[in-house]
Structures are given as structure tokens and as C-alpha cells.
């Protein structure tokens, strides 16, 4: 069993291509949480994030040949691309992508009420600022900053060159800095020293 647990994603994908459902189940159990987090960060809604991940995995099961091992891409990098593209499609269909759900979920009941309110407000502003970014900038930020992908992997996942990815990241951070400075969460340059 331990050997099966350690089997690489790419090896499991070879078995999925042979319609091995056990291998598919292992992939799903191994990666659902990670890709759910990716989808959730993109769309900000639990149900929609679940739908995105489910749809992506079921497509993988129906058409495993869409992952081409010969291209040498890691399974996770390729699947980030699948999930991110699905999330981007949904965001384009639904322009108003941010609800109150995230804010309500963030509250930690163990903290005192004042601190809780401050944190909640701060996180609300951060989340709102990220969700308000243009879709591709948001995707670049999520993949690099929150998913921990290298610039090369994130560029592959988004289907852009590394320079384009760096530009997306730079614009995302500039936009966030402006918005969070306006909200008073980041000090203005003139406030230093």
C-alpha cells in the first residue's frame, strides 16, 4: 500500500490512461484539497470551486489522453492549467466574482471580538483587492504566491512566456499596493522615516 501511495502522479496517469480507476482515485485523493484551494482562490465561492475541481477531474477520467506525457510537463503543472482555465472561463461568465462568503469563513471563534473584527475587516480588504484584479493577474498571483509554483511552472500553467508572467505579477502587485494603500493597510511612501 505504501508503494502505491508513493507512486508518482505521472505513473498514476499512465494507469489512468489504461482505465485504472484505482489509480484515478489515488490522484483525486492526493490532489483534491490543493486544487480546490486553487479554484477557491480564483472564484471566491465554495460551491463553484467544488464544481470546477470535480469537472476538471471528471474530464481527466473521460479523456486521460489529454495529458501528454511526451511533452514532459509535470502532472500538477498541467492540471493547474486545466483548473485555472476552467476558473477563468467561469469568471468571464460571471463578472461579479466576489461575495461575502469568504469573509464569513475567515472568522476564528477563539479570538476576542475586537481583534476578530479587525482581522476580518483586514482580510476582507485583502480578499476584495485580490478578487478585483484582472483575471490573469489574479491567476498569476495565486499560482506564484499562494500555490508556490516557480515562475516557469506558473507560466506553463497559464500558457504564457516567463516575461509575460513576470509582467502579470508586477501589475498585480502594483494594483494591490495601490488599493491596500488607499485602504490604509500599507503605509504611503512619504510616511516612512
Amino acid at each position: 500500500m505504501a508503494d502505491a501511495e508513493e507512486e508518482s502522479d505521472e505513473r498514476l496517469m499512465v494507469r489512468v490512461r489504461e482505465q485504472d480507476h484505482q489509480a484515478f482515485a489515488m490522484l483525486v485523493r492526493r490532489h483534491t484539497d490543493r486544487f480546490y484551494a486553487t479554484a477557491f482562490r480564483m472564484c471566491g465561492q465554495q460551491e463553484e470551486a467544488e464544481d470546477i475541481v470535480q469537472e476538471a477531474f471528471l474530464k481527466l477520467w473521460d479523456r486521460p489522453e489529454s495529458w501528454d506525457a511526451s511533452k514532459g510537463a509535470k502532472f500538477t503543472t498541467w492540471f493547474y492549467r486545466v483548473v485555472t482555465n476552467q476558473a477563468l472561463d467561469r469568471l468571464r461568465k460571471r463578472k461579479n466574482s466576489y461575495g461575502t462568503e469568504v469573509v464569513e469563513r475567515l472568522v476564528d471563534p477563539s479570538k476576542d471580538q475586537q481583534r476578530e473584527m479587525e482581522d476580518s475587516q483586514e482580510q476582507k480588504y485583502i480578499e476584495a483587492a485580490i478578487q478585483a484584479l484582472p483575471e490573469r493577474q489574479k491567476a498569476a498571483l495565486n499560482l506564484c504566491f499562494y500555490e508556490g509554483l516557480s515562475n516557469k511552472e506558473a507560466a506553463e500553467a497559464l500558457g504564457v512566456g516567463i516575461k509575460a508572467l513576470e509582467s502579470l505579477l508586477m501589475r498585480a502587485k502594483a494594483g494591490l499596493r495601490d488599493e491596500l494603500t488607499r485602504r490604509g493597510l500599507i503605509r504611503r511612501k512619504e510616511d516612512y522615516g
Binding site: 482505465q19 480507476h21 484515478f24 482515485a25 483525486v28 485523493r29 483534491t32 484539497d33 480546490y36 484551494a37 477557491f40 482562490r41 465554495q46 470551486a49 467544488e50 475541481v53 470535480q54 477531474f57 471528471l58 477520467w61 473521460d62 469568504v102 469563513r105 475567515l106 482581522d119 483586514e122 482580510q123 485583502i126 480578499e127 485580490i130 504566491f145 499562494y146 502587485k173 494591490l176 499596493r177 491596500l180 493597510l185 500599507i186 503605509r187
Partner: protein, 105 residues
Amino acid sequence: MVDELDELLTKRAEPQARSHLAEKIIAASLEGRGQKSKAGGFDLAGWFGALADEFLLPRPALAMAVFLVLGLFAGMNIETPTDEVGEDLVSYLFVDESFDTGDWL
């Protein structure tokens, strides 16, 4: 020195894991496989089902409304034999009372 923005961005909360989601996906994939295996051998009912699916209307309400409007339009524009009767109704209903029926009436 850690950038103030980066520090702030780390405060973004982690999405909570969905414990049931993986099992839900696995169950859904098994349902799909059941459907696939049924399609493996020849199944008459399945074949008729597939044939019926070919005639499914993607937007039945819209299709019905369009057919209704087209039907009304065609009905108002196409001449029918009853229209000819209507135009010549007087002659159709005319009874020649001068005709001698004899004694049998």
C-alpha cells in the same frame, strides 16, 4: 527585509479543505464508468434511447414558440379549399326555388 505588501498578502486565509469532495468526485466518475460499460455491448433499449436523444430539442420552449408563430403566419398566408368556399359562399348556399320538385316533397 520583507515587503509590507508580501507580509499583508500572507494574512489571506487558507481555504478550508472539503473533506467529502474527493469521495464525491470518485463516486461521480464511477457513475460515468457504469454508463460507459453499458454502451459496450449492443443494447436495443439504449439504441432507441440514443435515437430519441437525437431528436431532443435544446430549447423546447423557444422551439415551440417559433413553430407556433410560423404556423400562425403560414395559416394566414396559405389559401385553403375552405377559403374558396368562403369567397363563393352565396353561390354555394344558393337554392334554386324555381326548380320543380314534383309531388314527392
